[in-house]
Amino acid sequence: MSALRQPLPAEILALIFHYLEQEDLYECLLVSHLWHTEAEIRLYSDVTLDALQENSTLLVQAVKNRKHLLRRVEWRAFDVGVILALDLMDILLDHRPPADDNGDINTDYLFSFIKQEQEDYYGTTTPAATTTTTALSHPLGPNRPALTHFSYSGSDASWRLFDSILYELTTLVSLDLDFAREGWATEAYTIDMDKILDSFPHLRNLSIVGWMHKYGSTQTTRLEDVSHLSLQTSDNGTTNGSGGIRQHRLESFTFTSLLMWREGSDAFTFFSRLANLREIVIRSRASSIEAARRSRPWTFGRALKRFCPKLESIDSSGQVALWLFDLPILPSDKISHITALIPDPSPKDMSGVSARQVQPATKTDLATRLRDQEWEELLEGKGGVEPFFPQLKTLILGWDHTLSAQDLISLGAQPQFLTHLEINYQPGNPSYVWGMHDRDAADVDEDVMFKPFNLFMESEDKLIEDRRLRKRRKIEDQDVMLFLQHCSSLRHFALTKYNIPFKNLVQGNDNDNNTGTTKKTTAVGAEEEEEEKEEGPSIRRWACEDTLETLHIGFEFSINEPEQHRLVWNHLGRFKKLTCLTFARAPLHWDRLALIPSVSYGVEGLLNGGRRGEGGGGGSARTLQEIRHLPTWWKVEDRGAMVEWFARACPRLMVLGLEHKREYVDGMKRNPYTTFLEEEGVKQCSILDVFIE
């Protein structure tokens, strides 16, 4: 081969090196001078300093000579040990401690830091009160790196030293702090939110999580300062407040439940500086009792509604009382429509026959009626329900979340921008946050307040009072279904760790509320609707059939009811834009199964996309590009044929991931059902990627 006419220019090499890991970049350093220059830039722009790693001393030395290349630094410290911190001062701040004649660090200087550390640890000073920094005795040097990203994970021991480094990194665009509980952690560190916002004017992403004392703010923003605030959007899109509050550029903020527990009426006024905030991520490790006692969801919601009009994404996991809507407490004199639900001791039944045999209503019955009435109210937009986050597009709820039923229903009912919802559904999760009510509101009689323990004493009076106080309720099956039937803007929906039983999907359900909640205007009983179509039960339509693109969902059916499967496949075929369908992992019991993709179980419903007899013409099979965790419970001999069926039915299908069933063969766990992947038909089909999950 002839030599290249021209070598690749530096900017192209830079692009290529973006795709390489450390080991390969090392090899590139030795290829040629040009490659060395570019590879070095890439290698040292993104550096992780980990005190526990073998090569860290070598790395620190190499980095010291190349500080100007640093853009992203991740600092992992078991402890903020003094020596490592001094190295960091050199690297990040170009600050070299005074040396004696031999070039060693001046020991007095060193001891002064250690002494401070000891004072902090043994409690002679309280770090919670102040965050005074150790004054650097030398001005900052010229080789200081232009850091954009800094992340720290380690304990909060030696917080003084940490502070003296942290607040000097004023060029940061992204800051990530994770305080670990190990080593000499004091959990006494207080983050000063105002100081953070002041020190890092270019910051767009901020994440402060872990174990620390609290989120503080140096009371520079008081409630009275911002009470007259009106927010105006300037030309470049950043929001500026009149009245002297300079808006910060921060777009994404990650924090723990500690922040939700701030006390006082000024608790969340520092958010008045965050009018550009688009996303919040909340991580909580609190117990549900703590969350119930200390969270302030109403105050938090009201503050954010007022100060952060651009908020469009919330990601929350753990016990965090976070309400999305303001459900105003009903005044005691305005609850006649609720008290009317308490049934008479001797109700008449439908035919007018006076009831001697009818039992007095049980508390369950009242609870059900109250719930149904609340549903109706929420779905019709009555009762002054206001969203705290009117721009919400994305809501992600992780493990042990505390989204309430009322908030979910309201999300579905109100005209929303909501396009993305992920719920990690934990139906059996007890939580004391359901006992909370808005203490700041008027019309609350303190005598009536029940302790969380009394949740189990469901007297009629208590049920009524709970309803009046708008106490939240955990999400149940019907709430999810109701949401799906009403939310018309959804593009991405995921409901993980939950398998929907067939009865929840259909109409004619016992708990079904037919009045005004369906698109069908015939408000008659279920039997009449069934008579209209000969097939009996049918699946309730979802409001998002025209918009949904991604669906992650699980089903639980009986193997003996192919009709149920057929109806659901038909339902799945209704979506006009579905590109990605992921099934939740199937239940493990023999008589309960996931949705079966097989012709005898109606899988061609994907093609018809609608009721039988409708033209259909393609259904969601036309748009599907990716199917994951497709259950493979069907007969072994059918598997290759089914893959080919999917290839023919779904012309755009590129990825097909198959769930497999492990079986014990000869006493060993084996997956014997993979041979079909080698069949000619399967290998040659149009699906690019067929694999076992």
Binding site: P9, D46, A62
Partner: protein, 159 residues
């Protein structure tokens, strides 16, 4: 509507406007020039390379236009190349580099990305000598320089 592209060795290529506009450079040129029929000269691209580039743009003519994303993620994946693209990129090293340079000049980001990923995949796992051999690069280091570099960057070596 078709446009005429002229390679550096004076060969004419007639392509649909929609296909040609996968190149942002050409797209901007067309917008500036307006409704003129005059051919567009591409002095930096030979006919052989232009043929390949046009083939790529034809195949991807219906792809959605990529929005420049400001991702914060420094690490990018190179293992997600489509099968057609992979076969398309199975050319000799010289042509591979020429395609990348052309994609850069013509501002066709998806093609540039695929090219760079392909090169990255070739580099992965190779020693410096193997890399030089693969790309015909001359070693311009003295042995002392090599030793120095190895010493300074020891921490990054894969053990």
């Amino acid at each position: 509507m078709t446009v005429i592209l002229v390679s550096s060795d004076n060969q004419d290529f007639k392509v649909d406007k929609e296909v040609a506009e996968r190149s942002i450079l050409i797209k901007n040129m067309l917008e500036d020039v307006g409704e003129s029929d005059s051919p567009i000269p591409l002095p930096n691209v030979t006919a052989a390379v232009l043929t390949k580039v046009i083939e790529y743009c034809e195949h991807h003519r219906n792809d959605p236009v990529q929005v420049p994303e400001e991702t914060d993620d420094p690490r990018k994946r190179s293992n997600d190349i489509e099968e057609w693209d992979m076969k398309f990129m199975q050319v000799d090293q010289e042509m591979l580099f020429e395609i990348i340079l052309a994609a850069n000049y013509l501002d066709i980001k998806p093609l540039l990305d695929v090219g760079c990923k392909t090169v990255a995949n070739i580099i992965k796992g190779k020693t410096p000598e193997e890399i030089r051999k693969a790309f015909n690069i001359v070693n311009d280091f003295t042995p002392e320089e090599e030793a120095q570099i190895k010493k300074e960057n020891e921490w990054a070596e894969d053990r």
